[in-house]
């Protein structure tokens, strides 16, 4: 059996052992409400909560939103007779500051942790970029879910 075949077999065997978990689980997809705001944001717009739309320039009634995100990494190995596995964890955090004219500013934080576990030898585990993307999308979706829920609650109270 050639080395390529052996490598292919080994990678197929190992591929089945890769597991990815997200905590908390991303929320069920809810069409987000829309909020027109003045945005202060530097980054990839696909990580920005979808709730926000740009308000007309100079609109004095529109809230101002400042959004920042970051990711950090950690990894480790567990080596024993029964279980030889490697894990890598990406923690993504989003910090959102909402300033509504005439009200006190509010700061909200959401965090998601994506953990991948795989055997010590595996050919192509998910890259840090892929794990980071998954974690940042989870953070975005939690902001959408919470803000949509809060806005529905506020409308009901009116």
């Amino acid at each position: 059996m050639g080395i390529r075949r052996l490598a292919l077999l080994a990678s197929l065997g190992a591929a089945g052992c890769v597991s990815i978990e997200t905590a908390p689980e991303p929320p069920a997809s809810v069409p987000p409400a829309k909020l027109h705001v003045h945005l202060e944001f530097e980054g990839d717009r696909s990580y920005l909560p979808r709730l926000f739309d740009e308000a007309a320039e100079g609109d004095p009634t529109a809230p101002t939103v400042h959004y920042e995100y970051q990711a950090s990494y950690e990894d480790g190995s567990r080596v024993s007779f029964w279980d030889n596995r490697h894990w890598r964890e990406v923690t993504a955090q989003g910090v959102l500051q909402l300033e509504i004219p005439g009200k006190d500013p509010k700061t909200m934080i959401e965090q998601c942790v994506v953990t991948v576990k795989y055997p010590l030898i595996v050919f192509n585990p998910p890259t840090d970029s892929e794990l980071r993307r998954r974690a940042l999308v989870c953070v975005r979706d939690w902001f959408d879910a919470r803000l949509t829920h809060a806005s529905a609650k506020a409308s009901g109270a009116d």
Partner: protein, 142 residues
């Protein structure tokens, strides 16, 4: 005879390893140009897989072949930027680069199935500084 063979093998291994160490001008800190971010891509002198060198790329563009004990200052446009490297397996790490900021991308080799694999990781300035001081400038990839 066995003793001589052993010594010869050690000398050959040492010569090979020494041949892979980076040579060039010593580390010189620079500031990011206006409107740009600066990423120091570096590889420590000591570490796994000293004989393996690998290319660090952004998109389709090769930036530098990292050799142990070498660094390269990469000037980047601000925004989400993915750095990739690969031997038998690919690795990729993304950072949201900001204008006027300096980043430190640690490039290492780790255990692989057939050959060592690259590992890329953004680290803090504190973690990078001491190692960078002992690095030499690498030429850009062609």
């Amino acid at each position: 005879m066995t003793g001589r063979l052993r010594v010869a093998l050690v000398l050959v291994a040492a010569a090979l390893a020494a041949g892979c160490a980076a040579t060039g001008p010593d580390f010189e800190p620079v500031d990011p140009p206006p409107g740009k971010a600066l990423v120091y891509i570096y590889r420590p002198e000591l570490g796994y897989g000293p004989l393996v060198r690998f290319n660090v790329a952004v998109g389709d563009r090769s930036i530098v072949y990292v050799i142990r004990g070498g660094y390269f200052p990469y000037v980047a446009d601000p925004g989400e930027t993915e750095f990739r490297a690969g031997t038998e397996g690919d690795v990729a790490v993304t950072e949201n680069l900001r204008a006027g900021h300096t980043y430190y991308l640690l490039a290492r080799a780790s255990a692989g199935y057939w050959i060592p694999r690259p590992r890329l990781e953004f680290v803090s300035r504190e973690e990078a500084e001491d190692v960078l001081e002992g690095c030499v400038l690498l030429p850009p990839a062609r």
